[in-house]
Amino acid sequence: MAIAILLWCIAALIGTAVVAVAAARSRHAMRTVYALCFAACGIALSAALFHLAAGGGAAQTLTLPLGLPWLGAWFRLDALAAFFLVIVNLGGAAASLYGLGYGRHEPAPHRVLPFFAAFLAGMNLVVLADDAFTFLLSWEFMSLSSWALVMTHHREPSNLRAAYIYIVMASFGTLALSLAFGLLAGSYVQYGFEAIRAAEHEPLVAAFVLMLVLLGAGSKAGIVPLHVWLPLAHPAAPSHVSALMSGVMTKVAVYGFVRIVFDLRGDPVWWESMVVLGLGGGTAALGILHALMEKDLKRLLAYSTIENIGVIFVSLGLAMAFQANAMQWAAALALTAALFHALNHSFFKSLLFFGAGAVLTATGERDMEKLGGLIHRMPATSFLFLAGCMAISALPPLNGFVSEWLIFQAVLQSPDLLEWGLRIMVPAVGGLLALSAALAAACFVKAFGVTFLGRPRTPAAERAGEADRFSIAAMAVLAALCLLAGVLPGFVIDGLAPVTLALIGESMPVQASLPWLTVVPIAESRSSYNGLLVFLFIAVSASLAVFVIHRFASRALRRAPAWDCGFPNSSPLTQYTAGGFAQPIRRVFGTLAFRAVEHVDMPPPGDTRPARLTVELHDLVWEWLYAPVERAIGFAAVRLNHLQFLTIRQYLTLVFLALVTLLLALAIWS
């Protein structure tokens, strides 16, 4: 049984974590732990893939006598869980493979190894859980183990702050989720998912549940305005853990949302989808604008994760809107697009974080403005990173394009919606999506161009060497998957059919049997896309052009100094920097999104002081939402501090007064 195999894999991961605590300082610990994680994830991946390929099959359940004594721990493997287990374990296997090489540069392996295995186990458990108690326990386990990984390099003050904000937001999210399950359990206090699914939920309760899930799962996924911890915490961890957090853990959060909203809660109401659409669109646009302003490579990637989560939530919102209007086939299209994008994002975001980790190992730098020219020194890494950049920028024929294309196709089904609010909102959100896709391309031109192209800006960048073979293998596997999922998307869409069938009762038409493996969401006369042929056409016409020109025209080549309009400057500092590259876009969007102000300090003639240009950017979400809360808590804490320094008489009076007040309140209330 697949579920038993999966639980054994999880047990193996937990066992690895426990053993790693004891043995982390020994010489072979690093290799053994990563190899064991790789094997466990690999087996779990095959089990999940097998379950999904067998048509989703019947859901398998298993109860273990753990947890609450009268409940036990329930586990269930259905199509949705199997799909997300594929994401989790593929990312986990790739990260373990990468860790085999990357881990050698880790100064404190005992702070990474136990928690790495535990983190993988936690994510698997969340997806398999079939009762609220197990779900919440695994969720918290996942949060805490990832928090410990963020704390790996805890001597740096910025990491401490990141970990602190993360733990606060994670606790808040779990609180919201537990309240959501409390509401779902109802007055009969049924925590099993089976019972929750069968029960009828009042519309008001269902709406509250949605809001709480948006707070709980949304804060883990990184929805604006709950995203503040993400760009701090994801980059602070070691790079393979960053890849797991960005590429995989955010997907577990998406799983939580889909499980509760589409499976447990019952049918959505139309206005609820507007909330999700609005949040998704805003998240996508704001996330990618932040990424564009960033010069730290790993923080840029973290912000781009926020953008992609926004894209996924827009698609989920569309699915909810269609479902509320009983347009099941369109809902199936939107849900397929959302899940496909989740899968794609786990591929390319892990790949990009691995690349950033390789750069960090080779140069010790995360600041792009101190890098440059790495394409000459790290050819394999830069090629694979470029593949990731192309995929995330939604360029055909790679995978990012296919899922965004499907989302646009879903947007185009929306004029049939009945509600006016939705009809006006959907095209606006579609425009926001198009804007974020274009900005994402700009952002990754910047990321690749400044880091890997041009001339090295510092000696560290000049001395960089190629990454080790494990890291390159992990990146190569993910890059190949990006290409495969882009060229043969029909198989992925067909693999998702049992998932949408179970959640919505409808699935997209079968794709794999179409001629030339074309993707046709509705009908061929309406829209179709064939990644395979586009890839072949580009390859053939490019090779044709190369052949014709080299054969019949000229193949002579001479190296010479750069031209640069006749005034080449030998200093590499004259190259465009990350900030300079984003300046035109900052001028266009910055005043609105960041209240950007430029201060020019121009000394008068005769003064030898250098002229200075400083840019002031504001994180409005932090300043308007979090800073006031922080101030209020600080204010209350300072005031309440007086209570610690009272005399015994005053304490006794206080206790007496409290007693009288409570008794009075009780008397009046009853």
């Binding site: 360029l395 004029p415 391309a441 700009a442 074309t518 640069d564 080449p568 300046q583």
Partner: protein, 318 residues
């Protein structure tokens, strides 16, 4: 065998766009020169330029990487494939279902992605300035283009170009506000995408205002030939796109006889000539904008596209 004529038509289309694109560029230059009362170079000059460049040796900057050498061919391939998928003289081409309008725009996006990277490869400040401005322009032009596609797709019920063209040629279209807005927005996007005046000046060199030319400054020889060729192809693509969407007359349907193909080809050349004259007139009559005025220009296109889409969501008859 039904397949062979289909392959022939598709092949003819691919060859046609390749052969005609330098001619269109030359024609626009010629008309512009005549409007300025100079004689101008022959309309066949771009062919000669391309051949000359192809035969010359490449002078490659010392710091240039493999990406810099691969990019011209990638751009050429992506643009050619995109151009081959836009109906020029006939709809329902054999491979028209390979990519819809969204995918065609995304293919051009791929080409731009590589060009912008190539601009940064050598590590000169001119290359950087070009790439940085190009992505700024693209970040506004691409969403505008997608909103235009939304408008057309909502009307025709498809994003497939052949279906949209057939719908636009049918009598049920009528005059619509949203179509007018989409046309204006599409022309604005086409001007920006092809680096024409007032957004960019294809004839300028050594000016701080240039965008496209700054990116390709380090290119020479056959690489430069490929890039110039791709630029011509892209201009032809946008003209064909506007023609097949807003002037879909005399397009031969799938399975038509040779006579209607001939009529279609004749009409297509007429449309190209008309578009060339209009473009030259417009370029002669306007001046180039400052770079930071371009966002306003493209923002207007974006808003027009959004408005056109919204109108359709509000009422199917507008």
């Amino acid at each position: 065998m039904v397949v062979i004529p289909d392959i022939l038509v598709q092949g003819a289309q691919m060859a046609l766009v390749l052969l005609l694109s330098p001619l269109l560029t030359g024609f626009v230059r010629k008309v512009k020169a005549r409007l300025l009362r100079s004689r101008g170079a022959s309309v066949f000059q771009p062919y000669r330029d391309l051949l000359r460049l192809m035969r010359k040796e490449v002078v490659l900057a010392e710091n240039a990487s493999w990406l810099f050498r691969v990019t011209p061919y990638m751009i050429f391939a992506a643009t050619w494939v995109a151009a081959a998928l836009v109906p020029t003289f006939a709809t329902g081409l054999m491979f028209s279902w390979t990519a819809d309008l969204i995918a065609i725009v995304a293919l051009l996006g791929s080409a731009r992605f590589f060009l912008a990277l190539a601009g940064m490869d050598v590590g000169t400040s001119f290359g950087g300035i070009g790439s940085s401005r190009e992505v700024m322009i693209a970040s506004l032009a691409e969403p505008a283009m997608l909103l235009i596609i939304f408008t057309l797709a909502l009307l025709a019920g498809a994003t497939q170009l052949s279906t949209i063209a057939a719908f636009m040629a049918s009598p049920e279209v009528g005059l619509r506000v949203s179509l007018g807005m989409a046309l204006v927005a599409l022309v604005m996007v086409a001007i920006a995408e092809n680096a024409r005046i007032p957004v960019d000046n294809p004839a300028t060199h050594l000016e701080l205002t240039m965008v496209h030319e700054a990116m390709v400054l380090e290119y020479s020889g056959r690489h430069l030939a490929m890039i110039e060729f791709s630029a011509s192809l892209k201009l032809l693509l946008y003209v064909s796109l506007i023609a097949c969407l807003f002037a879909p007359w005399n397009l031969a349907g799938s399975g038509a006889g040779p006579a209607s193909y001939a009529v279609g080809a004749g009409a297509y050349i007429g449309k190209l000539a008309a578009a060339g004259v209009l473009l030259a007139l417009f370029e002669t009559a306007t001046a180039k904008m400052r770079v930071f005025r371009v966002p306003q220009f493209l923002g207007a296109a974006l808003m027009l596209g959004l408005l056109a889409t919204l109108l359709l969501f509000v009422s199917r008859s507008l």
